[in-house]
């Protein structure tokens, strides 16, 4: 009987050589006349161990990592297919503490299944949520989502159930489901991992959303920077269609849902939902005024649900196990789990899905293992390029939307980027303004002009020019951007800038006593 070997097809694993390793394993097995069944799975999210090769055994999967092509012959020599010991042996994958300590709901199947196999998906509890959905009334489906307490995982944390309910109750001949897969926030990659590692859970989530609100067409708006995800999504959609899970008659119910992937073109602002819809309509990605809400008048003027990948990928388990099940995880008003993405200068970067409530310190040290360089972690940016920088004194903050709001920070999409003590926070603040100027859609003045002026002022500050004049000027400018911008790009760029200034004034050339927050 042939032995099953797993080598991830995840683009981060591939970026470290997973394709070459997979080829080397196939060639080596052939050379030795050993029959193997090679599966390209998603990543388990322990990226410092990628490419991680797993071998299926009766007791479970055994992991080896990080495997280079040069290690392949010696792995065969050590009989790794039958549990032989090797320097790269990591033991049972699911016993690795980084993995074992997680609470994987949304990521339950990632790394385990063949991403594009409908059969494998169903064998691992897939499409149970859809089955329940087909037996429920639309209002009851929405009620499960409302009861779960799920809030938008893209960053805004708006209750998903309220959005769905608005679309359900808006009468229209056509409605749309949009999946916002324009994961532009630096330090985030959970959407990519789902789309590459378990695309069918996203497809199921969107199908459930479509059935719940009465939408027959869905679009996944995917960023161009994710070419691997594009291919995997399209294969998975074709497979779901062939198996009767998409199309005009879903599982004999007579109800329709169609799905198409559309590519963005490198504009960060298109992650903002109204800009995204403009882009889908074939226009410049200019932000729209709200109201009208997209739920009332969205894509092509029709009622539209716009949800992030992780929000939609969390729906199948909610409909499978019920809203209450999901709601039992978490703290306060932050219910369920959040897939956190550990990035930047960390020893053990990767994907950690946990219930809300864990502290930043636990994530950085118990999971992240401290900095990769071995120096102290001085600052972390949480929530992407528009998220605040947190100093060490705030590391005990729990992962909870409200707790982060209290310290003038955001959780955003759950990305955590760590910096060691070699970072210059004034340079980072300057970078934030430069990024905003580069990516501004140009519709509102505070963002369009403010970011350019902000970059100039920060350049002066970095060069220690006229600090007495320029620091108050920077604060005043940030105040205008915060309160006067049309969307979060201009409205939140002050978060990284001012948090850097307030927590690290010495990097701006001023002493802590001199600055007034």
């Amino acid at each position: 009987m042939s032995i099953t070997i797993y080598v991830p097809c995840d683009s981060s694993a591939v970026s470290l050589g997973a394709n070459r390793v997979a080829n080397a394993i196939t060639n080596e097995a052939q050379k030795r006349g050993i029959e193997i069944n090679l599966v390209r799975n998603g990543s388990r999210g322990m990226y410092w161990l990628e490419p991680m090769v797993e071998v299926a055994t009766e007791k479970g999967r055994i992991a080896f990592g990080a495997v280079k092509t040069g290690d392949v012959a010696s792995l065969f020599d050590a009989d790794f297919l039958h549990g032989g010991s090797h320097a790269l042996s990591l033991g049972m994958t699911e016993e690795l503490p980084y993995f074992k300590k997680q609470q994987r709901l949304t990521f339950a199947r990632v790394g385990i299944t063949d991403p594009v196999s409908v059969e494998d998906y169903i064998a691992h509890d897939g499409y149970r949520g859809l089955k329940n959905t087909l037996a429920l009334s639309q209002a009851d489906v929405v009620k499960h989502v409302s009861d779960s307490g799920l809030r938008g995982r893209g960053g805004a944390a708006f209750p998903t159930g309220i959005k769905w309910n608005t679309v359900l109750n808006t009468v229209s001949d056509q409605k749309y489901i949009i999946c916002n897969a324009d994961e532009g926030d630096s330090g985030t990659f959970s959407d990519r991992m789902i789309m590459e590692g378990d695309p069918l859970v996203l497809i199921e989530g969107m199908t459930i959303a479509g059935l719940a609100v009465g939408a027959t067409q869905g679009y996944i708006y995917l960023r161009i920077e994710y070419p691997h995800a594009y291919e995997i999504l399209n294969t998975a959609i074709a497979n779901a269609q062939a198996a009767g899970y998409l199309g005009d008659d879903i599982q004999g119910s007579g109800r329709a849902f169609h799905l198409e992937v559309r590519l963005g073109a490198g504009a960060y602002v298109c992650g903002e939902e109204t800009s995204l819809m403009e882009s889908l309509e074939g226009k410049r990605g200019l932000v729209r005024f709200k109201p009208p809400l997209p739920a009332i008048s969205g894509l092509f003027g029709k009622p539209t649900v716009v949800n992030n990948v992780i929000s939609l990928a969390s729906v199948p388990i909610i409909l499978d196990k019920g809203g209450e099940f999901y709601r039992d995880f978490g703290m306060g008003r932050s219910r369920g789990t959040l897939p956190l993405q550990l990035a930047g200068n960390l020893k053990h970067p990767g994907l950690v899905e946990l219930a809300f409530g864990v502290t930043l310190r636990e994530i950085l040290y118990d999971f992240g293992g401290g900095s990769a360089t071995g120096r102290p972690i001085r600052s972390v940016q949480v929530g992407g390029p528009l998220g605040a920088y947190l100093p060490e004194s705030q590391f005990d903050t729990p992962v909870d939307y409200e707790a982060f709001t209290e310290i003038w920070a955001v959780l955003g999409h759950g990305g955590i980027v760590a910096f060691d003590d070699s970072v210059d926070m004034a340079e980072m603040a300057k970078y934030s303004m430069e990024f905003c100027a580069e990516e501004s859609c140009g519709k509102c003045t505070p963002c369009r002009i403010g970011a350019t002026r902000g970059h100039e002022v920060m350049t002066d500050i970095v060069n220690k020019r006229d600090l007495d004049k320029n620091i108050p000027l920077l604060r005043s400018l940030c105040d205008t951007m915060l309160n006067g911008s049309l969307c979060a790009l201009g409205g939140m760029t002050p978060y990284p800038v001012l948090s850097a200034l307030n927590h690290f004034p010495e990097d701006f050339g001023i002493s802590a006593e001199h600055h007034t927050a």
Partner: protein, 156 residues
């Protein structure tokens, strides 16, 4: 515009013009086929979609990914975002610019490489990251960059 380019664009327009919100899919198809969107193609695209030429030009110029000059044989995209900055992305960026002898949005004299900045490749657990054509590379050092280029068999 050459006749073959014109034929390519016409074929793309015939296939895609009736899609809802067809402009971005059309622009992607044109750039995929020709490596850029020739400014001379704007009138036929505008005509097929019943848009003004200014509208089509406005969309092309809004999106960083679309280009109106031919790309080099290979396009190198360097991530400039925070996670890569935290892992020596800055020095890597300087090295790549020096090595290729071009700045962002430029193409090497021999037409082998175009250099573009990118804000996040979603490869943040393997920083710093770059992309060459469709392939993403993680944990890239200056030496690593040289090896990747050597593997491409392209001269510098």
């Amino acid at each position: 515009m050459t006749e073959s380019n014109q034929a390519t664009i016409q074929a793309i327009l015939t296939e895609l013009k009736d899609k809802k919100g067809a402009l971005l899919p059309i622009l992607h198809a044109v750039q995929n086929a020709l490596s850029y969107i020739p400014p001379e193609s704007i009138p036929s695209i505008a005509d097929a979609l019943n848009l003004s030429r200014a509208e089509v030009h406005g969309v092309i110029s809004f999106y960083h990914y679309f280009r109106d000059t031919p790309a080099g044989k290979h396009t190198v995209r360097v991530c400039r975002a925070e996670s890569c900055l935290a892992m020596n992305g800055g020095p890597l960026e300087t090295y790549i610019k020096e090595k290729l002898g071009v700045d962002y949005h430029e193409t090497t004299g021999d037409g082998n490489f175009s250099l573009e900045p990118v804000y996040c490749l979603g490869n943040c657990a393997c920083s710093p990251a770059i992309q060459i054509d469709q392939d993403i590379h993680g944990c890239v050092s200056p030496q690593g960059f040289d090896e990747i280029i050597a593997e491409l068999g392209a001269s510098l």
